[in-house]
Symmetry: C2
Subunit: 339 residues, 2 copies
């Protein structure tokens, strides 16, 4: 494989070139007992009970951006989807769709990042698939990651938020909007390069610390596409409670705020890839905040609002200038292809 500098259609044929790519690249970096069996399905041990199962496709443009790349993002995204369901992420699948002509060194860097992030998060990449399409029929590379996590039955309410009630606190582990703005800044056609770094990170370690320490977590969700506003709006929709947040409590990095103002974006709607929103029992909120703030991934954690007996079905924000505004779902497309 290393003799070929670019990916060819034959690397997706299922024949000799596919076989070589799989062995020389994927097995080399993702090496583990499950994948090494080289079967189309991985056979995995699962204790009796509940599993969480999730899928995400990644089409981010550009592939590489400050703080990460499509490979790291694909691992973090799926790990976080499992973790916020209350599960311990375990097994990951990878599906690559590659544009003919992709430089092999780019693919290798992506795969290397995936292996590195998987090791950091404690998950194993157990099965995969590779397709190659003709030039100009996809954009460099798209990656699907699906994942399986083990869910303790006592945490099964966390994904849906059953049991949320007025008085519950809304907590976030840090600043909003970093990922979307970092990707946007990395786009060559904008020609803006700042110090904005994506927050792309696997949060399962931090989340496990919190779940081990307290029974007060009522709901978790990672505010990716659509941002914090969309998560809170979805959470309130159709519910006998409302959500009230305080703009002054929502951490936004200085450069992100400046860049958003310049371009007319609202950081509350910009994607994050290393953030979790937790709705917690008010008695547990202090402990959760403390655990977050002691973790490198939660230093800027903040209680940003609470569940209210008023405003049924809606999420609101007290603005800096003293008014209240509604946080509705994003209506159109704000930033295409940020994940």
């Amino acid at each position: 494989m290393t003799k070929n500098e670019k990916i060819l259609l034959g690397h997706g044929s299922g024949g000799k070139l596919s076989h070589d790519l799989i062995h020389d690249l994927f097995f080399r970096y993702f090496n583990n007992e499950f994948l090494n069996k080289q079967t189309d399905s991985a056979v995995l041990p699962v204790d009796s009970g509940l599993v969480s199962f999730t899928t995400d496709s990644f089409v981010v443009d550009p592939l590489f951006f400050p703080g990460g790349n499509i490979g790291k993002l694909a691992i973090c995204g799926t790990v976080n989807d499992l973790a916020v369901s209350g599960a311990v992420p375990k097994f990951i699948s990878t599906g690559f769709i590659i544009e003919e002509g992709l430089p092999f060194k780019d693919l290798e860097e992506i795969v290397r990042s995936m292996a590195e992030e998987a090791a950091r998060a404690g998950v194993i990449i157990v099965t995969g698939d590779t397709k190659v399409v003709n030039r100009e029929k996809c954009d460099k590379v798209f990656i699907n990651t699906s994942g399986i996590g083990i869910l303790e039955p006592r945490f099964r309410h966390i994904g849906t938020g059953e049991g949320i009630c007025p008085g519950d606190k809304i907590i976030i582990n840090g600043s909003v909007g970093d990922h979307g703005m970092a990707v946007l800044a990395a786009r060559n056609d904008l020609n803006i390069r700042g110090e904005i770094k994506s927050d792309c990170a696997s949060l399962n370690g931090l989340i496990q610390k919190i779940l081990s320490a307290t029974d007060g977590v009522k709901f978790m969700r990672d505010p990716t596409r659509g941002g914090v506003a969309t998560v809170l709006s979805e959470l309130a929709t159709g519910k006998p409670y409302g959500i009230m947040t305080d703009e002054a409590k929502i951490p936004v990095n200085r450069q992100v705020r400046a860049f958003c103002e310049l371009l007319g974006f609202d950081p509350m709607y910009v994607a994050n890839e290393g953030k979790v929103i937790i709705v917690s029992d008010p008695l547990a909120a202090g402990d959760i905040l403390k655990i977050m703030q002691e973790d490198p991934l939660g230093k800027e954690a903040s209680i940003i609002g609470e569940v209210s007996g008023e405003y049924h079905g809606k999420a609101w924000m007290k603005t800096g200038i003293g008014g209240n505004r509604i946080l509705d779902m994003l209506a159109g497309e704000q930033l295409p292809r940020i994940c």
Copy 2:
């Protein structure tokens, strides 16, 4: 959604349009208790033991072909990967990457086919993801399906083929090359329209019948990309046995054979999407053949060869003209984007 005739970038934003697409299309067709919880991860019950986990991305061109479409194919492909591992397929995830401008009616027809095939195969689509990319950055729609099946420990050897030995029989449930040639014939630029239909089908029902009736199955694999030749070549590689097949015993439909001859393809290397190769104990081969032949998906089943104590590490075929030729792995790309 139905008011919009085409998919827009906003349908992949994670906001209001995404929400509407998910509710009006995916939830409507894929409706089930797991998906309806609308969480990013599906929470699934799993009995203690082993699960099979697999992933496949589908990029077939054209999207619609005689005998199926990309949606049906995506369900059958993942169901079959699980079934040939010896597992009972249970849960499927779907990841859509859609090109802006895709007619909504095409997407709906694809989704409808997926729901129909999932119902036929007895699997549930429990979680999903949708991305939309700009025009000309993908080709209409790509679909990833990942799947989870439950594997009885007594079948765990079936995916890897441990225990295969000389004398074992090699059985296929019908004609080879139908899928690849049907897709090729459906391509407008070739302007050839025959009566060739893809064999695209979920085989888990047939496979379960066989596994319930006999303990003699030593290995199964679905000969998709790379065809029957690539499966047999991979199976023999590095093993202390060889494989000898008989060309006269390999079922090939008349039109497929003619089309292959015309275009210079070898049906042994052409993809199938409704075929399974079984290596069985010689004492069980007759029963397996009978079960296949009594099933609509196995009427043309045939014992096509056997495992040999000679030819270590290689797969061979006795040709119609009396010689032997080696079945090597496909070297380059024969037919891009047939799955």
